[in-house]
Amino acid sequence: MSGSNRLAGLKARPKDTTVEEVRRVDEVGEARGFLDRSPRKKPGRKPSPRTFQLHPKVFPKVGEAIAAEAERLGITQGQLIELMWEKYEAHQG
């Protein structure tokens, strides 16, 4: 078998690729167990390249006080901790 002229006889049938048709195909497949098995991405928010994540655990009273103070000052808890750290460093000399 050789010769590209033979290939000229090969034909593709017209096929719709509308969203509706793909949805129908997915439904038919799912009913027969052909499910979406794409690898799942890692859940959760990606870490920010600008900030650093702390996971401190403190006593409830301290936590509530920090949250309330941040709210009173109109800043985030992270910004309050940054202010506290500045004071700490200044105190250390």
Binding site: M1, S2, S4, L7, L10, K11, R24, S38
Partner: protein, 222 residues
């Protein structure tokens, strides 16, 4: 030009081997063949990494969301698209089938392969019904014995024919050269002409088998 999809939810039945043989032989005929490797095992990517035959272009890592647009973009005048799918029941498989001009379901002549492979055949028929158009499909028996046709193979062929399922003749015989293609890359013709390639088998017989198989596929695409 046609889109040929290799489909079976069972792994190890010969989907990638069929894809490589068809891609090589159609390229040898002068077609511009695009092979889509949708199998996470990347068998075709490994084959092509050793050197794909002239006229064969490979696209790897084609997932569920990309399969339809990738087939559409690869399709065109003088081009044949061959899709090698993963051996699982996934939406990627059902979407690829919807874009096929011919679905080939490779099956070893065993009861287990027949049972799992029949899921792909049933899916094709259900998609035909849902889409209101026919999707040509056929079974090819793989890794068959060169010497004798087993009783199981005879029974399976009779069952498939009895169910009105198109069975491609010839079957693909278990040949060392078919497996070695993935180690050496290229095609069987190159393998036959290179004395340094050690296949431990009869490459000429393998080539004749691959050519007859491609001819049978060609007849179904006319």
């Amino acid at each position: 030009m046609p889109v040929i999809v290799m489909a079976s939810p069972k792994g190890g039945v010969g989907k990638s081997t069929c894809a490589v043989l068809l891609a090589s032989e159609f390229a040898r005929m002068g077609a511009d063949v695009t092979v889509l490797d949708c199998d996470p095992n990347k068998s075709l990517t490994r084959w092509a990494s050793h050197g794909a035959p002239s006229g064969v272009t490979l696209k790897s890592d084609v997932g569920r969301s990309e399969i339809v647009p990738t087939i559409r973009s690869a399709d065109g005048d003088g081009k044949i698209v061959i899709v090698d799918l993963e051996g699982v029941a996934s939406q990627l498989v059902s979407r690829a089938i919807s874009q096929a001009d011919l679905v080939i379901v490779p099956m070893q002549p065993t009861a287990l392969d027949a049972e799992i492979g029949s899921e792909a055949l049933a899916l094709v028929r259900e998609e035909e019904e849902a889409l209101g158009r026919s999707i040509r499909h056929a079974v090819v028996l793989t890794k068959t014995s060169a010497a004798v046709k087993s009783r199981v193979q005879k029974e399976l062929e009779a069952q498939l024919s009895g169910a009105g399922i198109d069975v491609i003749e010839p079957s693909l015989v278990a040949r060392a050269a078919f497996s070695e293609l993935f180690a050496y890359g290229g095609d069987l013709t190159a393998m036959m002409n290179d004395s340094e390639m050690l296949t431990g088998g009869k490459v000429d017989k393998a080539l004749a088998n691959a050519q007859a198989f491609t001819e049978a596929v060609y007849e179904r695409l006319k």
